[in-house]
């Protein structure tokens, strides 16, 4: 199964292609317009556009001369959804790491009367003034 997500991520892996998508987010544009900001030959730009088109990230008009490119949001939404899951995973792990680090500190630095935490560990032997 050649999957769409891999193709999408592959297409997004290149800074030029990301810049092109960013440009297209503000409206359709011709190849010449898209090539403008880049010090790149037209064939090079065309190659990037082909990758984006194959990934379904852009669509190109069929008019012979000026074939405007426009953004297609579908695959980007897949990626956004994917990344959002991952972000939440790490957010939650960081919460736990945060708590765990405090536990470690309380265990190791009973001497330094470090800081007051919501969850005081009962087995920490330290003279707390609070």
């Amino acid at each position: 199964m050649q999957d769409r997500l891999s193709t999408t991520f592959g297409a997004l892996a290149d800074p030029t292609r990301r810049a092109i998508l960013t440009r297209l987010a503000s409206g359709e544009a011709s190849v010449t317009e898209l090539a403008g900001p880049f010090a790149m030959s037209m064939p090079a730009i065309s190659k990037h556009l082909k990758v984006l088109e194959r990934a379904g990230l852009i669509a190109r008009g069929r008019e012979a001369q000026w074939r405007p490119c426009r953004l297609r949001a579908g695959p980007l939404q897949d990626v956004a959804g994917w990344v959002e899951h991952y972000r939440r995973f790490w957010e939650a792990s960081f919460d736990r790491l945060d708590e765990y680090l405090q536990e470690l500190r309380e265990q190791s630095s009973g001497r330094s009367d470090s800081r007051k935490r919501k969850k005081e560990k009962t087995h920490v032997r330290s003279k707390r003034k609070d």
Binding site: F9, W82, V83, H85, R88, E91, Y100
Partner: protein
């Protein structure tokens, strides 16, 4: 892309302690968080499996398998167990280990046949910030199969449901008092 970025950063009120951006650089996801602990300790918490097993994964997850050989070329393997009993195996290889500042590894989530469903290049940097440590996590998806979104969604369900249960349980306890 910009619309997408906005959607993601606006989607989660109440989590401002971690800054996250998506797709704006060569990384698919960049997150930063400041931990109130010295850098050496945070680094150790990431590289010593006795510590890693305590925090890896969302609340309610355990890590029955947690192995790490934290040096360049060294392997890591973590099997996460969700509160609903599902096990999510992951393996990876360290590319860079610079104590106590930087970790680079490729992590692959595995399906039932130990095949990778997605590979994520993960870079973790630890910066001293006064007495604290600013951690930056950068993720870059190298490979992903169509299974990946479902996998992540399942994992997330596994823990949000258990949090819901916990919430219900606490509410009941409150009620009984």
């Amino acid at each position: 892309m910009s619309a997408q970025n906005a959607k993601i950063s606006a989607g989660t009120p109440g989590t401002e302690k971690t800054a996250a951006t998506v797709g704006s650089s060569q990384w698919d996801l960049v997150m930063t968080r400041v931990f109130d602990a010295p850098r050496e300790l945070v680094f150790r918490a990431w590289t010593d499996t006795r510590h890693v097993a305590h925090w890896w994964g969302p609340k309610g997850f355990t890590n029955p398998v947690c192995e790490m050989d934290a040096r360049a070329g060294g392997a890591l393997r973590i099997h996460m167990r969700a509160p609903d009993g599902m096990v999510y195996p992951m393996k990876g290889v360290f590319q860079e280990v610079v104590e106590p500042q930087r970790l680079v590894f490729v992590a692959s989530a595995l399906d039932a046949n130990d095949n990778s469903m997605f590979d994520v290049l993960t870079t973790v940097t630890f910066a001293e910030q006064h007495e604290k440590t600013k951690l930056t996590l950068q993720l870059r998806v190298i490979k992903a199969t169509a299974m990946a979104p479902q996998y992540l969604k399942g994992m997330e369900m596994g823990w949000t449901q258990s949090l819901d249960k916990l919430g219900d349980h606490l509410a009941k306890m409150e009620h009984q008092r």
